[in-house]
Structures are given as structure tokens and as C-alpha cells.
């Protein structure tokens, strides 16, 4: 079946079988950021944003996303231009093996888009669906706090630039 989708800002029409999960579809298209972990929605390694909301792509069929927009970690930033959440994860050393990191970062990003100044408890709740067996959760929580500060600073400096300009 035909599937029209916007992935990381690029809209294309794809051919997909009706039973294929979004995770398998994305990986078959070269988006290797979403990882296959538990296959049950428990680990969050496959997390992406579907129409701006975090979902476990292993549990959603690709066909369901017809006409929608998807953000994977590849669309958030790139090595030359990291998103502040990615920068913060690097600076705080919130990643070890990296398998859970795309999911953690996208959960953090979705949270900060809705709530730019989250409490620690809100961060912990937002990351609750992303299991990490290497770092534990102290560093990722710190990274989200740092990202919130960085994004706030960026927003302030952008406003200042706009008012000068």
C-alpha cells in the first residue's frame, strides 16, 4: 500500500506492507536511530515522535501514520549542528553504550517543548519509559536540566537579537 509520510521534515510517498511496524519501516528506510529493544513498548529504545507525541514505534503499524509527521533522532540535529538536548547529553556524559540514548533524547525533547522548565519529578516521569542499563538515570536527568537551561538561554539571546535587529 502507498504511504505518504513526512519524516524529519521531508515528505515522500512510500510503499509499505500493511502489517509492518513503524520501527521496521523506519529502519528499512535507513533511519537507524530508533532501536529494536523489547518489542513490547517497555524499553523505549524505539521511541520516535509521531505528530509531536512520543510513541513506541515497535507497537505502531506504519500504515497508521498515513499523512502524519515523524521525528527521529536523525531529524533533531546533526554532528555539525547538535540540538541543545543532544549537546547537554554529551556535556553531562549521559550516554554510555548509546542504545537507549535516541529514545531518551526524544522523550526529553518532547517534554521541553511542552514544559520548558520542568521539575525533577516531571523529568523523571517523562523519562520513565526509557530504560537505561548503563548510566542509570542520574546523568540523563541532569542532562535534561542542563538542556532546559541551554534552551532558555538560546531563546533569550534570540529575543535580544530580534529586538536589536
Amino acid at each position: 500500500m502507498k504511504l505518504k509520510l513526512q519524516i524529519n521534515g521531508i515528505t515522500k510517498t512510500y510503499e509499505v506492507a500493511p502489517h509492518v511496524t513503524l520501527l521496521n519501516f523506519l529502519r528499512s528506510q535507513g533511519y537507524h536511530g530508533p532501536k529494536s529493544g523489547c518489542g513490547n513498548g517497555d524499553c523505549g529504545a524505539c521511541e520516535i515522535l509521531l505528530n509531536g507525541k512520543p510513541v513506541n514505534s515497535c507497537l505502531v503499524l506504519a500504515a497508521h501514520c498515513e499523512g502524519g509527521s515523524i521525528l527521529t533522532i536523525e531529524g533533531l540535529g546533526n554532528p555539525d549542528n547538535l540540538h541543545p538536548v543532544q549537546e547537554a547529553f554529551l556535556e553531562v556524559a549521559a550516554a554510555q553504550c548509546g542504545y537507549c540514548t535516541p529514545g531518551l533524547i526524544l522523550s526529553a525533547y518532547a517534554l521541553l517543548m511542552e514544559n520548558p522548565e520542568p521539575e525533577e519529578s516531571e523529568i523523571r516521569e517523562a523519562l520513565a519509559g526509557n530504560l537505561c542499563r548503563c548510566t542509570g538515570y542520574v546523568k540523563p536527568v541532569e542532562a535534561v536540566q542542563k538542556a532546559a537551561q541551554m534552551m532558555k538561554k538560546k531563546a533569550v539571546s534570540r529575543k535580544e537579537t530580534e529586538s536589536i535587529g
Partner: protein, 286 residues
């Protein structure tokens, strides 16, 4: 995996979805909302998937004193609903938030929960204590109490009904409420959950509703225990007796999460805790 699925359709109306459901053999076309999580067992027999996520069943509304939760409203929407937050001290959003993570709550809803026969969510326990009704659309349209639907099953085991919505009368008067549960972790499925709605005070229980779910065959009310408590002072001895009655009345599961014996004991403990919690929230007679 699921290579039996040949077709994926977005029906334009509920009626079109229902017509399609009854075209082939029972279970060959099933309604669902895009996620394979709960509906997977039904999908293994199906040829056509009917995605009903775009039929406008994703609204939470209030009409008069009645609250309507559309069948495809996600658990995350329920968690974030200010309308539901305003009802019974937020017991419904609290129950929805217990389930898993945000990524899973965004793709889980009452439709898929109910047609798949999943009955262990605390949200169902709370909806049963609220005397919710379920609106089903299959060969015929049925409206029945959720408790009865949970007992008899929705979709006749082959997913041939659409859950249009759940509705309940917004509790009026001074109801106090409490949801108590026991689980290995906060975010884990409950071993047992008890929801209580209470009018009265320590000296006199004027009205009480009790629902127990998660670790029993299906979430249920306990009218005999409710009758026993109505009109009585809520003293320790009375609560102990009510606990003992509820322990005898439930049909607990015996599985890897807990033994049936443990669940019987916890039913009494959680009932007492729930009543005490309601009483702590103040006198609800005035």
C-alpha cells in the same frame, strides 16, 4: 509476523467500519486504532485492519451531568484532561497515569483495551466504581454497564464491535473517593486495586461504592459489602468485618504477580486504607 494482514483501511464512518466488519468470516476484519500492543491476538486471525482512529471518537466532553469519554481517547489524554481532573479529586486521570510510560499511554485507549479483553488496568476499576456505561456499535448498538461488559466480554471474542464511548454521571454532592493499589513498582501493573466512593463520616456511612480490579477475573462492584457498610459507623471493627467480607467475595487470580491468598488479604487491607483515605479528606455529609 502478521503476514496474514492483507489490507489496511481507514473507514470514513463508524457505519462503514461496521459494514466491513461483517462482510467476511467472524474476526477477518477487526477495528483497532493503530497499535498492535493489546489487539495483537485478534490480529493473528485477521485479514483486514480497520483503523478507526480518525472517526472523531477521541473527545472527552460533558453534556449536562454526563461525562463522555470517546473510545479512541488515549490514556495520556485522560491523564491530561482538566475536565476529568475536576471529577472525584482527579481519580480518573490518576488511574490512567499509572499505566506504563507516556509513549505507551499515547497509543493505548479504551477501545483497544476492551475489545482485546484486557481487564487489568486500574482505570477500569475506577470506571466501574463510577457506574460507567459502555456504548458499543456492532450488528446492533448496545449500551450496557461497563461491569457487565467486562464480565461477558466485548466484541464476542473476535473484535466485531466498536467501542464508541464510555459515559458516566458526574458524581454530585459530597462524594469522597480513593484509589488504593499494590504493585511491585509504581509504574507496574497492579497486583490488586480498590476504588471507593464514600458519602458520610466516621459516625455514619450514608452511601458507599466499592470496586475491585486488576488482580481478579474482571473489575467488579461488591453490593453486599456496600449494603453491610451503609448506615454504619466506620469504626475499626466494622471495617475489619467489611474487609473480611470482601476477601471472601472476590475471585482473585493466582499468577506470577501474586497468589490468590495474597490478593484476598490485600483486598481487605486496601479497602480499609481506601475508606480511611476518604475519611481523611473530610466529612462528606455537609
Amino acid at each position: 509476523m502478521l503476514e496474514n494482514i492483507r489490507d489496511y483501511i481507514f473507514p470514513k464512518t463508524i457505519e462503514a467500519a461496521v459494514r466491513r466488519m461483517y462482510q467476511g468470516a467472524p474476526g477477518s476484519s477487526i477495528p483497532f486504532t493503530g497499535s498492535i500492543d493489546l489487539v495483537y491476538p485478534l490480529m493473528t486471525q485477521a485479514e483486514t485492519l480497520l483503523d478507526i482512529s480518525r472517526l472523531g471518537l477521541d473527545q472527552i466532553t460533558q453534556k449536562g451531568h454526563k461525562i463522555h469519554i470517546g473510545g479512541t481517547v488515549s490514556f495520556q489524554q485522560i491523564k491530561e484532561s482538566s475536565l476529568l481532573q475536576d471529577c472525584l479529586e482527579g481519580m480518573i486521570p490518576k488511574a490512567a497515569s499509572i499505566y506504563a510510560s507516556r509513549g505507551q499511554r499515547n497509543i493505548t485507549n479504551l477501545h483497544d483495551t476492551l475489545i482485546s479483553g484486557t481487564n487489568y488496568f486500574d482505570l477500569l476499576t475506577v470506571l466501574v466504581v463510577l457506574e460507567s456505561k459502555i456504548h458499543l456499535h456492532g450488528k446492533t448498538r448496545r449500551i450496557l454497564f461497563l461491569e457487565k461488559a467486562l464480565k461477558n466480554g466485548v466484541g464476542h471474542g473476535v473484535g466485531d464491535e466498536i467501542v464508541r464511548e464510555l459515559s458516566f454521571i458526574k458524581p454530585r454532592g459530597r462524594w469522597k473517593s480513593s484509589l488504593q493499589r499494590v504493585a511491585v513498582l509504581d509504574s507496574d501493573l497492579s497486583i490488586l486495586s480498590v476504588a471507593v466512593m464514600l458519602k458520610g463520616n466516621r459516625k455514619n456511612c450514608s452511601e458507599i461504592r466499592i470496586a475491585i480490579g486488576s488482580g481478579i477475573t474482571h473489575p467488579s462492584r461488591f453490593p453486599d459489602v456496600e449494603k453491610y457498610l451503609a448506615g454504619k459507623p466506620l469504626k475499626t471493627a466494622v471495617l475489619k468485618e467489611a474487609g473480611s467480607l470482601v476477601s471472601q467475595a472476590i475471585e482473585p487470580l493466582d499468577d506470577l504477580r501474586a497468589s490468590d491468598e495474597y490478593r484476598r488479604e490485600m483486598a481487605a487491607v486496601l479497602l480499609e486504607k481506601a475508606v480511611e483515605d476518604c475519611l481523611k479528606k473530610g466529612d462528606s455529609t455537609r
